[in-house]
Symmetry: C2
Subunit: 365 residues, 2 copies
C-alpha cells in the first residue's frame, strides 16, 4: 500500500495511530491505548509532534528510540506514570552527554508505536517516520539496527519507582538477556531508551514510512468502523494482504514466563473455513499460524494480524479470548527480514520452531 505521508501528529490523529499500531503489532507490542492516552495528554500540553523523514536528519544528529519493555499482559495492569519514558531518555542523554535530536519507534506496532509520540511531544522533539521492525517483535535485538551492526547500548532501563540502569553489553542479544531479567525484577514492565545512533546510521537502518503506514491503516479501520462496515475488505485490497482464516476462538492458553506472554489460540473455522481449525502460536506477538494437521499457513517474520469480525478492531494476544469471531490476515514482512541475517534474528528457528522459513505469498499462492 502507498501510505499518505504524515508530517505532523495532531490530537485527532492519535485514535487512528492507535488502531493502525494495534493492527501492525501482530497481536503484541502492548495495547496502544495507554500510549494513546499518554500521547494525547502530551500533545494537548505541548502541541503537535513534527514527523521527520529520516533523510532530513543531519548525519551527526543523535536519534534515540524509546519504548516499553515487558509482557503486554503486565503492561495492562501496571500503568506507566507518564514520565518514566521521558526519564529513560533523559538518563541516556545525560550518560551520553548529548541531547537527542529526534526519537523514533523501535517497533511499528502496539504500545511502542504510541509511547514515543508522547515522549516526542513532552521533550519537544520530532519523531522519525520509520521504525526498527516494520511490525512488532518480542525481543530487543530483533531490529533492523542489529542487521546493520548498530549497538543497542548504551541503553537505559528504568521503572516507575525510580530505579534506573545503564547497560553496556558485548552484543545486542546480551542486551536483551540482561534487560529481560531486569524487566522481570522491575515487576514485568520497564521503560527503555536504547540504540542511540547518528543520523547517518539511522538513514541506513530505519525501516521507512512506518508512522505514515500505521496512520493510513488506522484511518481505513476508523473510516470503515465509522460507516459501520468491517475494514477487512478494504485492508485486504489496499495492503495486498492475504486472508488466511475466519473463525471463532475456541481455546486460549496463555502464560507469563521469563518476562513474555506465551501461549496458543485455537480458532474453529466458519463460512468457507467450516470444519477447519487454525492454531496461532504467540510470544507477545503471533508467530505461527498452522492448521490442526500441522500445515503452516504463515510464520514469523511475516505478519499475522487479527481483526474482530464484529467490530473490525485489531485483537492483541492479551485480549484474545474464547468466543471472539476473528479474521486472520497475513502480510509479507519487510524484505530485510528475509535475508540470511534477518532470518537468523527472527525466523521460525530462532523461536524454537523446527521449520524452514517460506514466504507467506509462496505458501498461500
Amino acid at each position: 500500500m502507498v501510505a499518505n505521508p504524515i508530517t505532523e501528529i495532531r490530537l485527532e490523529d492519535m485514535d487512528k495511530i492507535a488502531l493502525g499500531g494495534a493492527f501492525l503489532g501482530t497481536g503484541g507490542g502492548g495495547d496502544p491505548y495507554i500510549g494513546r492516552l499518554m500521547s494525547e495528554q502530551a500533545i494537548r500540553e505541548n502541541g503537535p509532534v513534527k514527523v521527520l523523514d529520516v533523510d532530513a536528519l543531519a548525519d551527526d544528529a543523535l536519534v534515540v528510540p524509546v519504548a516499553m519493555m515487558g509482557a503486554p499482559t503486565v503492561l495492562l495492569e501496571k500503568l506507566p506514570r507518564g514520565d518514566e519514558a521521558q526519564a529513560a531518555l533523559t538518563s541516556l542523554e545525560n550518560y551520553l552527554g548529548h541531547k537527542a535530536d529526534a526519537v523514533f519507534c523501535i517497533e511499528a506496532g502496539g504500545l511502542n508505536s504510541t509511547i514515543p509520540i508522547a515522549v516526542a511531544a513532552s521533550a519537544g522533539l520530532p519523531i522519525i517516520d520509520g521504525d526498527g521492525m516494520g511490525r512488532a517483535f518480542p525481543e530487543l535485538q530483533m531490529v533492523s539496527m542489529t542487521i546493520h551492526n548498530i549497538a543497542a547500548c548504551p541503553m537505559v532501563i528504568a521503572d516507575e519507582k525510580g530505579n534506573s540502569l545503564v547497560l553496556n553489553t558485548v552484543d545486542n542479544l546480551s542486551t536483551e538477556k540482561f534487560a529481560r531479567v531486569i524487566t522481570v525484577e522491575m515487576g514485568g514492565a520497564a521503560l527503555i531508551a536504547l540504540y542511540p545512533m547518528t543520523g547517518a546510521e539511522a538513514k541506513k537502518a530505519v525501516l521507512r514510512g512506518s508512522l505514515s503506514l500505521i496512520h493510513s491503516i488506522g484511518k481505513i479501520i476508523y473510516d470503515e468502523q465509522s460507516a459501520n462496515r468491517n475494514p477487512a475488505e478494504r485492508l485486504k485490497s489496499e495492503l495486498n494482504g492475504i486472508s488466511l482464516f475466519e473463525g471463532r476462538v475456541i481455546d486460549v492458553e496463555r502464560r507469563t514466563e521469563g518476562g513474555f506472554a506465551r501461549g496458543t489460540a485455537k480458532i474453529e473455522g466458519i463460512g468457507t473455513h467450516d470444519g477447519d481449525t487454525l492454531i496461532l502460536r504467540f510470544q507477545n506477538e503471533f508467530l505461527m499460524a498452522e492448521t490442526k494437521q500441522g500445515e503452516v499457513r504463515a510464520m514469523t517474520p511475516d505478519l499475522i494480524c487479527l481483526l474482530d469480525l464484529e467490530t473490525g478492531s485489531p485483537i492483541t494476544t492479551e485480549q484474545i479470548r474464547y468466543g471472539f469471531r476473528v479474521i486472520v490476515f497475513g502480510l509479507p514482512c519487510d524484505p530485510q527480514w528475509r535475508s540470511e541475517k534477518g532470518l537468523e534474528l527472527v525466523g521460525p528457528r530462532y523461536f524454537g520452531y523446527d521449520q524452514e522459513y517460506a514466504p507467506i505469498e509462496s505458501i498461500n499462492c
Copy 2:
C-alpha cells in the same frame, strides 16, 4: 583481640591474609585463594600495597569498595581473568568523573578480603584498614554503610566477557535485588564496584582495623600450622572465641539457588560432644548453629567459623563435606550489628528464621 596494625601488604603477607580471610568469612565470601593468587601477581608487578587508617583520608577523598558477587560454589569454577575487578572500578570512576583515592573491602572475609588488594596493587591505590561487615554476609545491603544511610549506587557490575552495567536504584535492598539477577545472568559470578563514598562518610561507616585483624588471625593459623599445632587453642584464647562444638561432618545438603549457595551441614559430636549433633545452616555464610533438639547455639549476625581439626585450616561452605572433622567457633559480631537497624539488616528474621536474636555470649555463658 588487639591486632598488630598492618601498614603495608607485601608478598609474604598474602598467605596469612588469605587464611585470616577464610576464617572471618564464616564459611562464605568465596575461597580467598583465587584472590590471593591475583594479589600476589599484582604485588609482584607493582610492589606492596599501602594500608591506610581511614582517619588519614581527606574528607573529600573518593573511596570505593570493590568485590566479587555470586555464589562461592560458582566462583570456584569460574575463575576471574584478573582485570575485571579493576575494570569495574575504572567504569565507576568514569561514570563519576573522579578517580578513586583508596579502595576497601566490602567484607572482612573470603575472596572479598583479597580481591581489593589485587585491585589496589594494580591501580596503585592504598587500601583502607577496614571493611563494611566485620565478617562476610551474603547480600549487598548488609553493610555498615547501609546503617549510616550511604547509598550502594551508583554501582558498576561487570563480567569477564565485557558486559558492564551501571545501577542507580531507590535503595540498597533494590541494588541487591537487581545486582543479584544480573549476576545470575552473568553466569553466577560478577565483579562489582559500589558504595562510592567520601572520606568523611568512610570515617563514619567503615568498621575499623579489619585488615590488621585478618592478618593477625592468619598469622596465628600460619604459625601454629608451621609448628604442627592446631591453631584452635590460640585462636580461642586470643580472639575470646567460644568453642561451640567438635565433631565429624555426617551430611551436607547444598544447592545453588537464586544466585546463592544454600544448604545445611550436620556434625556428629566427638570427644566431649559425643552423642550430640550440631546442625549448621548457611546461605553462602554459616548463619545458624543449632542442636538436633532445635536449641540454637549461635546465630547471625554473630560469627560461626569452622576449622579443620586435622589441618587447622578454615573451612568454607563450599568446601565442607562428609567425613571432615571440624571445630566450630563462635565470635561476637561488631556491636553495630546488634542495634535495631543492624538486626533488621542481618538478624535471624531477615534470613527467614523465626528466632529472636540473642548474643552468642549470653547463649553460651
